[in-house]
């Protein structure tokens, strides 16, 4: 089955590109600096903790 070109274009422009830009922006901190090793490791720990906290809150409700 061939994908509808308009649907593909909509997905690319509305979802894909903003998503990729968001990821790139996340690396482009407000200072304009690229992230350091320490910042990357700290963010990983923060994100993991947030998943655990929100998940456990949902499981306990």
């Amino acid at each position: 089955m061939k994908a509808d070109p308009q649907l593909v274009q909509a997905v690319v422009t509305q979802v894909l590109i903003p998503e990729i830009l968001g990821i790139i922006r996340a690396h482009h901190a407000s200072t304009g600096e690229l992230p350091t090793d320490e910042q990357v490791i700290a963010k990983m720990n923060t994100d993991a903790d947030a998943i655990v906290a929100k998940g456990e809150a949902f499981l306990n409700r």
Binding site: L16, I20, H28, V52, G55
Partner: protein, 156 residues
Amino acid sequence: MKARSLLVSLVVALTVVACAHAPASVVTPQGKAAFAADQVLVRLQEAQNAVIVAATPDAAGHVSLPKPTADIIVSFTVEAAKAIKQTPNGWLAVVSSAWTSAKAKIPANVAAQAQGYILAIDTLLAGAGASPIPMPESNAALQQVIDDGERFLTGA
């Protein structure tokens, strides 16, 4: 509808950006592993949020995913986050195995409702083992990518 739209965005995003190279400023093996692991955590968090939204009753009290099924998936995300934090450079086998076990617990009568979320996490884990997408290696190159993308979006 909100849950479905979240899900479509999630699957597409996971397919393309499940894994990216660390920027040039990240130099240690620990930093590179943490960067790659965090890409997965960010997507895992999106999957978790989508499942929680789907299992939260709307104004009429309806849910698009039953709480017991959501609990199975959310429990997996919690355990996966713990495993990734503990071993950012060697979590994939453990988490993939945990996901296989979790999927097997989802009742057959809700398989259709859970199918999108299952696909999203399947895609995330497959992407985590795939070749990374190169990141621009300087601030100027990053800015160029952002500018090009915004020009494309606005048609300028």
